[in-house]
Assembly symmetry: C2
Homo-oligomer: 365 residues x 2
């Protein structure tokens, strides 16, 4: 499916450089074997480390885990949905899901109160996870600020074998005490499911964006440095690309016009789509003559990531756009319809998921 990769030019080179420089592996055979996940099939999840361990566990029906953290600030949007879909898919493949609210990080780095963070984690993240299909009964959820003593003890032990230079590789020279706490906490988030008290050593995968790789590398190193004490298996990772903002550029939690939240009013979401950047030409005439550029179109990106799961249907849209027979106005309306339908159905599920979300958050860990 590489021909419909929307990052055909510079950005792919960026990802390829990243893979070359830091040793992230391509998906290779896994792209075909796990083509049932749209993001893998379409190359949006473009790289991995040690996914072989997870593959083996899936094939042999052995125990494995997935760890994911959420930043409890802002709205749950379609960038987050991509990760949620991957988590749910891994759960259906048999993973024990460990999910945490990174409320220590949001407090020390962003100044968000624990109370606000709790509300966001439950109402935005957990409720949407469950509405999207996560089985809450097979989920270990915790707040970084309110967890078991073994977790904090592990984090403190890790501090013994982390150097400043390693932390600077993550945060740059602008290191602070709070960032050090955040980095250690993230490493403990990823490693603690392998402690005896949490199920013991087993393969574990972390779905991340490429920007999170320094954390993965540090944590993999720490797993080896503490292999004697804990028999940790270095965590595996998958790497995904990022959705663009609706106006092009970055999707940003601080700019609601750049994303569609899963709690946006369907009509409002439709309006955002009607205002989105497309790959259209300056005039209708030009577009009919030259065709559109789906690789630069935010509407097309929404189809690719979320709204059109059928590859044949997606290819058809792609072809019509390139041929200049599908124009942006019509296409936006189509996209808005799909979006409004999705949101209406999703939001009903979310309403009934809220109770489960609250219960999970209060559950004794």
């Amino acid at each position: 499916m590489n021909e419909i990769d929307p990052w055909a030019s510079s950005s792919v080179e960026d990802y390829e450089k990243l893979m070359r420089d830091f040793g992230i592996q391509p998906m290779g055979d896994y792209q075909g074997r796990y083509s049932d996940l749209r993001y893998i099939r379409r190359g949006i999840i473009f790289g991995q480390r040690d996914l072989g361990r997870i593959d083996e566990a899936v094939q042999k029906k052995k125990r494995f885990a997935l760890m994911t953290g959420l930043m409890p600030s802002g709205k749950f949007h379609f960038g987050h949905k991509m990760v949620a879909d991957e988590i749910i898919w891994f759960q259906q493949k048999g993973a024990d899901i460990f999910s945490c609210s990174a409320d220590i990080e949001s407090y020390v780095v962003r100044g968000i109160s624990f109370e606000d963070a709790r509300k966001t984690a439950i109402e935005e993240y957990l409720a949407n996870y469950i509405a999207l299909g996560l089985d809450p009964e097979r989920l270990s959820f915790w707040f970084q600020s309110d967890y078991r003593t073994e977790y904090y003890r592990l984090r403190d032990m890790l501090s013994k074998k982390v150097t400043f230079n390693e932390l600077k590789a993550i945060y740059g020279d602008d290191l602070t005490t709070g960032k050090i706490i955040s980095a250690l906490t993230q490493a403990a988030d990823i490693l603690h499911p392998q402690l005896a008290e949490f199920g013991g050593p087993r393969p574990l995968v972390v779905p991340v964006g490429a920007d999170q790789d320094p954390h993965i590398r540090l944590t993999r190193d720490l797993a080896q440095r503490f292999s004697e004490e804990f028999k940790f298996i270095p965590p595996s990772a998958t790497y995904h690309k990022f959705m663009s903002g609706l106006q092009g550029g970055k999707m940003s939690s601080s700019n609601p016009q750049s994303y569609i939240a899963l709690t946006d009013e369907p009509k409002d979401a439709g309006r955002k789509i009607m205002r989105a950047k497309t790959g259209g030409r300056a005039t209708v005439e030009e577009q009919k003559k030259l065709g559109g550029i789906p690789e630069q179109c935010m509407i097309y990106e929404l189809y690719l990531y979320h709204l059109v799961d059928d590859d044949r249907e997606l290819k058809e849209i792609y072809g019509k756009c390139k041929a200049g027979t599908l124009l942006c106005g019509e296409d936006k309306k189509h996209c808005a319809q799909l979006m409004e339908k999705f949101l209406s159905e999703h939001q009903k599920k979310r309403d009934s998921a809220l109770k489960d979300a609250r219960r999970i958050a209060e559950r004794k860990r």
Copy 2:
């Protein structure tokens, strides 16, 4: 009693410089008011910060607390006994005692396992505390590695407002991730008794050696930086001098000849005393003529700190030594007898205190 201060020359200047440079206050009136504690009466506890708050609580029978940490390595010796005596004295004055085993620090900085640290904390420290008179029923004891979530949360919150320069003031430029964890943990050790879950804001005193003052200063600053969130009252502190090693120089846990442990066989302790450095002269004749130098005598120091509580008796020894009528051999024998008697009686109490010590360590916190 300043005339019998054994640190008459250079070291007092050091302490005075310390007080001048960092604003530690002299004991002033408290030396007389609290002369029932030998260490205060004799100027061994030489300085304080905000002791007025504690004084007021004692006088008005209001609630106050004391926090003390123990480093769970090596033997419990007479340097530790001095602090234990002060803790017990404050407990008798009404303090809620918070005592922790600094097993995170001993792990990350010294590589001591949590298991070994637990054994040392119980068998050396707790058992000796209780045998010396600490009431275990009025003691909150915890391990840094195994405590309540509110404590870890506080520590993480503190990380938001601690700068690298402040930490370098404590540890020098040779800062490590583990030392940062230790410093934050110490600050949480001192501040958490004022959290609502642990009794709420109230005056709290920390007995320390002068070398620990950077920790006290940092913690007092943090108390103010978090006064809005927690209404912390900046902790008070007392500052004590250090006992010398039996051979002169520093008392060191890594050199058993430099100290007497409270679990030493009484006869072995007696032998250590017979080998100790004294303030004697080169020959008996010279000593009879010039007199001894009690200010440089480790035997005299044992009397001053521990073995001779009666000031008149101490003065008499001092006078005889100076006059050359008490010679070192005789004096050592006397000291060894006092020591052997003390240890025999103490060790019986310690044996029966062990059960309480183990119970306290396992108690749900």
